[in-house]
Symmetry: C2
Amino acid sequence: MEISDWRAKIDGLDEQIVKLLCERAGAAAAIGQLKAGSGANIYEPEREQNVLAHVKAKNSGELTDAQLIVIYERIMDVMRALQRSKPVA
Amino acid sequence: MEISDWRAKIDGLDEQIVKLLCERAGAAAAIGQLKAGSGANIYEPEREQNVLAHVKAKNSGELTDAQLIVIYERIMDVMRALQRSKPVA
């Protein structure tokens, strides 16, 4: 395979990744609204640690655990900001 | 749906996201090896801009474009580092 073939593969993967990130954001927004309704904290470090442990357990090794965590910390930063910015339904 | 239900949904999405990120890393590593073999630069800003334009075009709106780009810039940082760290096959 040439570089252009690998890039076409990456483009297809990105379409799936974006779809899943958007679904994840929708779920995070729903949680944010439930938390706002009950007065619960947006930041729950124990849950975030569980998320990181879960994704590390699913790492098939093309990324190091540290690389995967760096990506996921950014994902969780964005999702937390999104929960804080959404009005209560 | 309660918070625990949404979290179960997120856990399932994360499993799919991790699988795709690992596949993407494998493709990036393959490109890195091809580039190392030909002496091409790892950093190609035009390609990176194309990736960002592509993911924005696929954004279904649960994230703002800015939030999606922030996540993708981190993904591309990690993939670039991975390409630099892999030995030529």
